[in-house]
């Protein structure tokens, strides 16, 4: 399998958010600002790559009957590590992502990659798959976060864009606005990139 194929799949053809619709809960919740989106993406990429690597290493040792609980333990361990490091060295981000860091454990995106890719492929390919899927997640949530922050708060990465008279549409900060924008982004994505890549 070629690495470029992996990245094409992760980012466009099988984008975890825009095509596979995995992990919607955290996507809708944390994309209210670009900063939160980037922070969450970094956490997801770290957990996804590390858990893919470890699961790929131990894939031949674990009995298939209890593979799912073992995957969850591995994922939970890395999530807890990420959470501890974030609490220690990136406090502000830790506060604003709140409950969604521990919830990465039950993000089906990570379990899906462990089950469908890392448990069947070698270490290097699994790491690359984790990175590719993580980048796909990043592209989706940062796009959504950017649109939501600009429309909902009139700012980008915390910088005010339109001056004081701008009346921000608060609905885009709330999950309802996230649903609407996510639908629009998926529609645009389907019409442009995805169909081109598939045909």
């Amino acid at each position: 399998m070629k690495i470029s194929t992996l990245f094409k799949q992760g980012i466009i053809k099988e984008n975890p958010v825009l095509v596979q619709m995995l992990g919607m809960c955290s996507v809708l919740a944390i994309t209210n600002t670009v900063e939160n989106s980037l922070g969450m993406s970094a956490a997801v990429i770290a957990v996804l790559m590390l858990s893919n690597i470890v699961i790929s290493i131990i894939r031949k040792l674990i009995p298939s009957k209890i593979r799912i609980p073992i995957f969850i333990v591995v994922i939970a361990t890395f999530v807890t590590m990420v959470q501890m490091f974030m609490n220690a060295y990136a406090q502000a981000l830790y506060q604003s992502l709140g409950i969604f860091i521990p919830l990465i454990v039950v993000n089906c995106l990570i379990l899906a990659r462990a089950e469908s890719f890392a448990s069947k492929n070698g270490v290097f390919l699994s790491a690359m798959d984790g990175l590719a899927m993580g980048l796909g997640y990043t592209v989706a949530v940062v796009t959504l976060g950017a649109v939501r922050e600009v429309l909902g708060s009139g700012s980008f990465l915390g910088m005010n864009l339109f001056g004081e008279n701008f009346q921000a549409a608060a609905v885009f900060v709330s999950p309802a606005g996230a649903f609407i924008l996510l639908g629009i982004i998926i529609a645009i994505f389907n019409v442009t990139l995805k169909n081109k890549a598939t045909n």
Binding site: M84, A88, Q91
Partner: protein
């Protein structure tokens, strides 16, 4: 049967390794987190007592003595300005709507409130979280408490009344409960 035991042992091994790794990470990050939380609580004390230039943190035995009948009290710090005790900052933990709320309560030497600051909470965003997000809430405590305790009512205009946040009764009352425990402990064990 034999297979069940084998599967159980494999799972035990995996979780044991995971636990060991996490213990290692915790020993690195734990002190950093504790240090940062201490810095935060010190800067919070300065917010409540802008004049303070020194402070003495009570050790466990002293805190236990002050807390006595007020188990919500976890930490007590004597706040000092030019050698004179100007008040006490007490951190209290009370049960809110969603988990514990840690509040830093500043009590002046005359028994009135210097102010409060909610340090840790996980209340509902937009409702209970107003105990942090709405600055008027914390402000409504300042100078109150001369009568020994405060109650939450309306905008909190009256004597010893503090602001009742609409839609956040449980959260408001949790903070008020903690503040009253601090006032009580001050009256019983700290004021001379």
């Amino acid at each position: 049967m034999k297979e069940t035991i084998k599967l159980g042992l494999v799972l035990l091994l995996v979780t044991a390794i995971a636990g060991g790794v996490l213990a290692g990470v915790n020993s690195i990050t734990g002190p950093v987190i504790a240090e940062r939380e201490k810095m935060e609580s010190l800067s919070a004390i300065l917010e409540l007592f802008p004049d303070a230039n020194d402070s003495v943190e009570y050790d466990e035995a002293q805190v236990a003595e002050v807390a006595n009948d007020n188990p919500a009290i976890r930490e007590v710090t004597e706040v000092i300005d030019s050698g004179e005790t100007i008040g006490y900052a007490m951190s209290v933990v009370t049960g809110g709507y969603a988990g514990d709320i840690t509040t830093l309560v500043g009590v002046n030497a005359d028994g009135t409130l210097a102010g409060i600051k909610v340090l840790v909470m996980s209340e509902t965003a937009g409702l209970g979280s107003k105990i942090v997000d709405d600055p008027a809430f914390a402000e409504s405590f300042q100078g109150k408490g001369a009568g020994g305790n405060v109650t939450a009512s309306g905008a909190g205009a009256g004597d010893d009344e503090v602001m009742m946040l609409s839609g956040a009764t449980v959260s408001t009352n949790a903070v008020v409960r903690g503040v009253n425990e601090a006032l009580d402990a001050f009256a019983n064990n700290l004021s001379n």
